[in-house]
Symmetry: C2
């Protein structure tokens, strides 16, 4: 007799939110020449963070501090909040999982955009939540529609990424501030700012950290180039932050990662360099798109979404052609955004590989 | 208005399973001279693992492989199972949390020993499970009583650590094999073998990896000295292993930790050295106890539980006296085991600090 799973677990499908590039590499029997599919930051962590993590390797016999005290102090000071407003966790993915667990019982309504972050959806479904999806407005998430639907279905939770993934679009701070003011009583806005370091000044809203209507997420995976370290944080009212302590894996943080994140925060100059390199990579990706008769969408992230100009089937062919030439990229899952492919910013050699692969893939896709 | 938490979350207390040593250090305003309280392995990771993690620091811009493919292959080969029998996760703590989520709905019965691993209890309570605790038999967990109670309450899950924490005691393989044969239909035995590398040959039971009645947990935190890295695994029937994929944080593993664990597995000579060093530390701790008129209990782990010879109040005074002298140790939480203090094996300098602190703490406790 099998173990007796919960009724919810029995009902869950055996899907995964994303297939990793290593899985593709094993299938094709060779590593990728360029890794531009997961919005990893190929410019890498700050040398200070690398040195700190490297030096911390011998000390990995010790558990990490379960309170993440030093990291929370530093984050709080930078964000202008108190440490009681900060929760540190195993990536935004890990924190979204905890948040879903805190709020969502079977049947509880949750609102997101159709085509937004699949891992959010995975966690909501994993706790039995019911997802209500509103369409994007063109290539932008639609705050007004999200709020409207949230009222309609009495949503416990609303998800918005600003800047957005997978389209790279963004709203200004004032749009988000207006949205927050309209969050219905008893709803919580999960504002995913994973890409905020790449966005223009004036994108991050001003939020009262005691506002019970919103929790904002930041990560070391993108701007700080430390996706493999698994460190992110959220800022919210102390009551909500304290609730995470009821359910989280208290000793779940990698000790070297804690130390590396702290070092990364102390190297603003490197972050600025990274942002400048990403801007140059965007210009290059825009040029590559144009050379191939395609249009790159404006981006406030570390990736560029390129409109392949036809439908999803065509873009999937282009993607397959790029991938089989050793360049790992991904694309939006949902129409009409699946007319696009999504390419992460990265060092020149990686973009060269993409530049070489794209025209061949396009020619093939065009038959 | 606050976010609307689940009814279960509203009912959960704001407790944490363990307070980290860093919290004590902040309270006392100084770091500990010796860190012997969390059964960390002060002999540290294999130099190969340190080198591998250090070298992987620059590559932390990449997410870890969500399938943990290489690590699972190697673990499977060593354990004589297939990769489909292996799940890798963020420490045994992380895996126990996933297991609780897979099996436990509100009100579901779970059986453990009174005084066994608090983090298991934390996860069960966190999913609304009802814990039924059976007493130890002296200083040993009582497999017969666990099975009996599991039948009585129709337990979905049974927890047993072998070797045991916090008492350091153990049962032979044949006792565990007999226990597994008696696991009731529809119950699952969670066999926590965190300390197995330190146990005498003949402690690890032979288990059919397709047996649906048992899941065994192993970790890199103890024998391999990598607690801060957060890598553990479980071996179970493929159906149960596949169920973890429905709920786990697929990109939750630190990439350098994956690489370090793989390197650690390839250094059996270092593991053997560690085990020998721990045995020598045990001899030293036994001698320290004897010099102070106390009895050290036999141990198949990397810690020694020392009977202070009186009641819990006395042992708590001894512990406080040791801790205030800069030596981090812990003690069992539950009577009658709280007559003991628990001291991790460690390098000589750390044991020297304990040897210096103990007689003073004892004198103070005796008034």
């Amino acid at each position: 007799m099998s173990p007796r799973y919960t009724r919810l677990v029995d009902s869950l499908p055996a899907t995964v939110p994303f297939v990793g590039p290593e899985t593709n590499e094993r299938a094709r029997g060779a590593v990728f020449d360029a890794r531009l599919g997961a919005n990893e930051n190929g410019f890498g962590p700050s040398p200070r963070a690398i040195a700190a993590m490297s030096a911390a390797s011998a000390g990995q016999w010790m558990y990490g501090d379960p309170e993440n005290f030093d990291l929370k102090q530093t984050i709080a000071a930078r964000m202008g909040v108190t440490p009681a407003h900060v929760i540190v966790g195993e990536g935004i993915d890990g924190l979204l999982g905890y948040l879903a667990r805190l709020l969502i019982e079977q049947g509880d309504p949750v609102v997101t955009s159709d085509g937004a972050y699949p891992t959010f959806n995975y966690h909501i479904a994993g706790f039995g939540g019911v997802l209500h999806k509103v369409p994007y407005l063109g290539d932008h998430e639609d705050p007004t529609a999200l709020i409207h639907r949230a009222r309609e279905v009495n949503a416990k939770l609303i998800y918005l990424a600003n800047p957005d993934n997978p389209m790279g679009s963004w709203h200004s701070a004032s749009v988000i501030e207006t949205m927050i003011a309209q969050v219905p009583d008893g709803s919580l806005l999960a504002l995913d700012e994973a890409y905020i370091e790449f966005a223009p000044t004036g994108t991050a809203p001003s939020i009262d950290p005691d506002d019970p209507r919103v929790i904002r997420f930041r990560t070391f995976s993108k701007g700080y180039g430390m996706a493999g370290a698994r460190v992110a944080y959220a800022i919210a009212a102390p009551g909500l932050i304290a609730a995470f302590d009821k359910v989280r894996n208290h000793f779940g943080m990698n000790r070297a990662a804690q130390i590396g994140a702290l070092a990364a925060l102390q190297d603003d100059a490197y972050l600025a360099q990274t942002v400048a390199k990403v801007a140059r990579a965007h210009a290059r990706l825009n040029a590559i798109a144009a050379e191939n008769g395609l249009r790159a969408l404006p981006s406030a992230t570390n990736f560029v979404t390129i409109d392949c100009g036809k439908d999803g089937d065509f873009a999937r062919k282009v993607l397959a052609g790029v991938v089989k030439r050793g360049v790992f990229i991904r694309m939006p899952f949902v129409a009409p955004h699946d007319r696009c492919i999504r390419v992460s910013a990265g060092p020149d050699a990686q973009l060269d590989a993409f530049a070489a692969a794209l025209p061949l893939a396009l020619a093939e896709a065009r038959g």
